[in-house]
Amino acid sequence: MTASLQKGINALKEVIDAPVASFFASCVHCGLCAEACLFYTETGDPKYTPIHKLEPLKRVYRQEYTLLGRLAKMAGLAKPVSDDELEAWSELVYDSCTMCGRCSMVCPVGNDLTYMIRKLREGMAVSGHAPEGIIMATKRTVDQGGPMGLKWPAVQNVIKHQETDTGLSIPVDQAGAEYMVLLSSMEVVNYPEYLGALARIFNKAGITWTLSSEAYEATNAGIQIGASDLAREIVSRIVNAAEKLGVKKVLSPECGHAYMAIRWEGPNLMGRPYKFEVVHVLEMLDELRAKGVLKMKDKLKTPVTLHDPCQIVRRGGVLNAPEALVREVVVEFRPMTDHGKMNWCCGGGGGASAIHEPAAEALRFTAFKRKKSQLEETGVNTMVTFCANCRITLEEAIDHYEMNTQLLGLTELLAEHLED
């Protein structure tokens, strides 16, 4: 056995806990998780059945933690997990799983399969079987500050532009502000208007805020690849900066995995609760809406539908804010049939969009057919969403299928129609 494989198996042994054991014991091989997974529904290939993706973790569990499994192992009857097998599984654990969490919603015996995929990725990453694309994104975040290699001077540039565009100042490193705002690289690069939109909203609401020159990147490829040590390093950068500035709250950007990382995984990675609160930008906006601060001067005339990013809604718990906010700013809202916590993934979450191999990309386009048919069912050409990664994935697919669909970011849409 190679040293890296041994490390991987040790990592798996470490993450196996009572829920994992209970889930594996309970599985009746009914296959209903497949029916909830867009990689199965759109390809019809049974290998994409979520519980099958967990096979290596299941075998390690059985061989290490059950009486019968240990006996079988001693008698040489158990098939050990091998490097070749993990390599083959990389496609199932990364390319074809976005950790969207839909399978965990439907399993009749109650298995949280996504919880287990997240754990399996720990072993995959340590044993060297994670996809190159996500490894590089994680490395860049640790070494350079962001998954796209974006450094502070580039952010400063965006700040300057947005200050000119909005005529408002964008505070940096201001101690004692109520909110410390985090960004995601994709927003800075592709949708810089997000920052200007926030500046206008904070100004309007009279809330103090700041950016931190030490921690501006919220995305965390460490949790996607399954490397807790790197994920911890990325999170601690934010936590240290926020606690140094003494802010009350940290504002997570629209980006889905950023929210999962900083809000839900972060305290567990750090091993302690934070001295501040983490708020998703939509939660804050919805609070302002409820208070009557977020008033619109007009509404978008075209009918729209909403794509709910998995990590924010189903997995993150921001369930009601999105629809309430969309209804505030549009004339006609047509929800998709499966929406909210039952929404279907864009196909690019969980790090999948960072995998640039042709087969993975082709699979993403196939999986997108689910979203495409959902969209066509609503009969509208404008889709609002609130995750930079979903947006990139959706845009690529919309181009690929030459669809006539316009994508809008929710925060920017609100800012555009905000009362002056």
Binding site: S22, S26, H29, P273, D338
Partner: protein
């Protein structure tokens, strides 16, 4: 050993042995699974209506939105054979008498004609879900020897019980002995096959409901 002796053995020694092995096996498995424990979640929870493990234990008995249409045989077949098994096991007068003799607890049963009808429907449904397991590409792909074994271990007691009660195929005494022995096999195997879900599914649902409930998502 004649059939009377076989029945006496099945009802006596074998039953005690099977119950003993079942209890030991269950105890072992439950300890093996649940003493693994889990780390506390340090993220401050979000409160939401209906987002707890207890809610999920109940809620997961219903089909989630859109799923019934995607897999009608799994849901409808699943409901019928589970409810059918429950009725036959716990509401057949003869079974209640046995439980009373073992534990002192008893409750009213259903008329035997009703039990007969439920048994036939359950047997037919179990054949249907077996067919579905072989026919459905995902189920066939996932299926192992354990799945077919679990099916057979469940089907046999139901079938032999029905044949015994109806005096079919074999003399009553022999069939009853076979019926009891098949139940004993089921008991011994239960902790070590997927049939253990009868017990663990409650904990699994609870964990899922708790993990996601802390994030404010009723699952």
């Amino acid at each position: 050993m004649n059939e009377m002796e076989l029945l006496t053995w099945a009802r006596g020694t074998a039953l005690n042995l099977a119950i003993g092995l079942f209890l030991l096996g269950m105890l072992w498995r439950l300890v093996e699974i649940y003493t693994l424990g889990r780390k506390p979640d340090l993220a401050p929870p979000r409160k939401a209506e209906g987002a707890t493990g207890w809610h999920t234990i109940l809620r997961r008995s219903l089909s989630p939105p859109g799923m019934l249409k995607r897999s009608p045989i799994s849901y409808i077949g699943g409901y019928i054979f589970h409810i059918g098994l429950f009725i036959v096991v716990f509401l057949f007068a003869q079974h209640i008498k046995l439980i009373q003799s073992l534990t002192g607890l008893y409750w009213p049963g259903l008329p035997s004609q009703v039990i007969d009808a439920v048994t036939v429907v359950t047997l037919a449904t179990m054949l249907l879900v077996l067919f579905d397991r072989i026919n459905n590409p995902v189920k066939r792909f996932l299926s192992t020897f354990g799945d077919y074994l679990a099916w057979a271990l469940t089907f046999l007691p139901l079938l032999t019980g029905f044949l015994a009660a109806k005096h079919l195929l074999l003399p009553y005494t022999t069939m009853l002995a076979i019926h009891i022995l098949s139940v004993e096999l089921l008991l011994i195997a239960l902790p070590f096959t997927k049939l253990i879900h009868v017990f663990t599914l409650f904990a699994s649902r609870w964990y899922n409901g708790d993990i996601n409930g802390k994030r404010g998502v009723p699952v």
